[in-house]
C-alpha cells in the first residue's frame, strides 16, 4: 500500500521539534491527590470545622470520611494511571466507581445519618450553600486532572471527565462532612451526596474536549 508523505505543515513542525516532558501517571496521580487535599484543607480552614465534630460517633465518622476520601482517590487513580504497558485512562473502571459513589453517597446519607446533641436539623435548608461549597471544592481536582490528562483520552473522554468530576465531588462531600452541622439524612443524602453527581455531570459536559488530542 502506498503511504502518503507526511503533511507539509507537520514537516515544518518537525523541523523545529523540541523535547517534551512525557506523562508520568503515578507521579501525576500523587500530585493531583496531594494538591487537592491541601486545597480542601485550606477551604476547610476558611469555612471552619463543624462545632459538634468531636461529639459525633467516632467509628461512623471515620468510616464516612474514609468513604469520601476513597470516592475521591480511586476514580482519580483509575483516570490518571493506565494499566501497565498502556497509556489510555482506565475510564470504564473509573466511570463505574464514580457511578457507584454517586449513588452510594446519596443512599448512605439517607440510610445511616448520625447526629450529636449540638447537630442541627434543618432538612434541606442551606442546600444551595452546601452544594455550592462542594462544587467549589471539586474545581481543583477536576481542573488539575484535566490539565494532567489533556490529550491522553481520545476515547472514553466523557466518562473520564465524569469520573474526575465525581472524584472532585467526593472531596467536596468530605469537606462538607467536616463542616456542615446539619445532620438530617435527607440533607446529608440529597445535598452532600448530590454534590458527587452534579460535579460528575458538569465535568462530563464541560471537560471532554480538553482530554482529547
Amino acid at each position: 500500500m502506498t503511504i502518503p508523505p507526511i503533511a507539509a505543515e507537520l514537516e515544518q513542525e518537525l523541523a523545529r521539534l523540541s523535547p517534551v516532558t512525557t506523562r508520568r501517571p503515578v507521579r501525576q496521580a500523587l500530585l493531583a491527590g496531594a494538591v487537592s487535599l491541601v486545597y480542601a484543607a485550606i477551604v476547610l480552614a476558611v469555612i471552619a470545622v463543624r462545632r459538634e465534630l468531636a461529639d459525633l460517633p467516632r467509628l461512623w465518622l471515620v468510616l464516612y470520611l474514609g468513604a469520601w476520601l476513597a470516592g475521591f482517590a480511586v476514580p482519580v487513580w483509575f483516570a490518571l494511571v493506565p494499566r501497565p504497558g498502556g497509556m489510555l485512562p482506565r475510564w470504564r473502571l473509573a466511570g463505574a466507581i464514580a457511578a457507584v459513589s454517586a449513588v452510594g453517597f446519596v443512599v448512605a446519607g439517607l440510610l445511616v445519618p448520625r447526629s450529636a446533641a449540638a447537630s442541627l436539623h434543618l432538612g434541606l435548608d442551606y442546600a444551595h450553600q452546601c452544594l455550592s461549597l462542594g462544587l467549589v471544592t471539586a474545581i481543583v481536582p477536576v481542573v488539575l486532572g484535566t490539565l494532567l490528562l489533556r490529550g491522553a483520552a481520545p476515547v472514553g473522554s466523557r466518562v473520564t471527565a465524569a469520573a474526575l468530576g465525581a472524584a472532585g465531588g467526593s472531596l467536596g462531600g468530605f469537606v462538607l462532612h467536616l463542616h456542615c452541622p446539619i445532620a438530617d439524612g435527607i440533607h446529608v443524602g440529597l445535598v452532600h451526596g448530590a454534590v458527587v453527581a452534579v460535579a460528575a455531570l458538569l465535568a462530563a459536559a464541560l471537560v471532554p474536549r480538553a482530554l482529547r488530542p
Binding site: L10, L14, T22, G85, P154, V155
Partner: protein, 186 residues
C-alpha cells in the same frame, strides 16, 4: 526495525527521524483501518494526516514504556467519528429547506465517491474486502481490528472506546454477515 515504543520515546526526546520511522511503521496499518472505515482513500489519507497531527500536538501525553499504537489507533478512531459527524451536519437541509443536490453515478452512489472508488479501490475488487465494506461501521471496525490488524479483543475495544464484550458481539455479527454476503452458511 525499531519498535513503536522506542521510536515514540526518541520522538518525544526531540528526534524527528524517529517520528518519520514511527510514521512508516504505523501509517500503513492506520491507512488500511481508515480506508475500511471511510471506504474512500482520499478521505482516509486526509484523516491519516489529521491523526498524526494530533499525535504530534499531544505527544506529551505519552507514557514512556507504553505501546503507543492503541493510543494512536484510538486517535484515528476519534478522528473518523468527528469527520463522520461533520459530514452528517453537512448533509443537513439547505437554507431553502431542500436537501443539497449530490451528483450520482449510475450505481446510485454520489459521483465523487463512485469516481474515487473506481480509481483507487483495486483491492476492493476482491470479494471479501467488498463484503467487508458493506458492513455497518462498528462491525467493519471490529472485523478489521481483530482479524486484519491482528489486535486482541481487549485492544480493539480500547481503540474503539467500548467494552470487550461489545467488541466481541460486533466482531461476531460482522463475521456472520460476511459469511452470509460471501455465500457461506450462516
Amino acid at each position: 526495525m525499531t519498535d513503536a515504543r522506542t521510536l515514540m520515546t526518541k520522538y518525544c526526546d526531540g528526534d524527528p527521524a524517529s517520528f518519520r520511522e514511527l510514521y512508516a511503521l504505523l501509517a500503513p496499518r492506520l491507512l488500511g483501518y481508515l480506508m475500511r472505515m471511510t471506504r474512500d482513500r482520499t478521505t482516509a489519507e486526509d484523516l491519516l494526516q489529521q491523526t498524526f497531527a494530533k499525535v504530534h500536538r499531544a505527544r506529551g501525553a505519552y507514557v514512556r514504556g507504553a505501546d503507543p499504537a492503541p493510543w494512536i489507533f484510538a486517535i484515528a478512531h476519534r478522528t473518523f467519528l468527528d469527520d463522520r459527524r461533520r459530514a452528517r451536519r453537512g448533509a443537513m437541509l439547505t437554507d431553502h429547506g431542500d436537501l443539497p443536490e449530490v451528483a450520482a453515478a449510475l450505481s446510485g452512489e454520489p459521483a465523487d465517491v463512485a469516481a474515487a472508488r473506481a480509481e483507487i479501490d483495486i483491492a476492493a475488487t476482491r470479494a471479501a474486502l467488498a463484503a467487508l465494506d458493506s458492513l455497518p461501521a462498528p462491525q467493519r471496525e471490529a472485523v478489521f481490528l481483530t482479524k486484519l490488524d491482528g489486535r486482541s479483543v481487549a485492544e480493539a475495544a480500547e481503540i474503539a472506546g467500548t467494552t470487550p464484550g461489545a467488541m466481541k458481539v460486533r466482531a461476531h455479527r460482522g463475521y456472520v454477515a460476511l459469511r452470509r454476503l460471501l455465500g457461506g452458511a450462516p
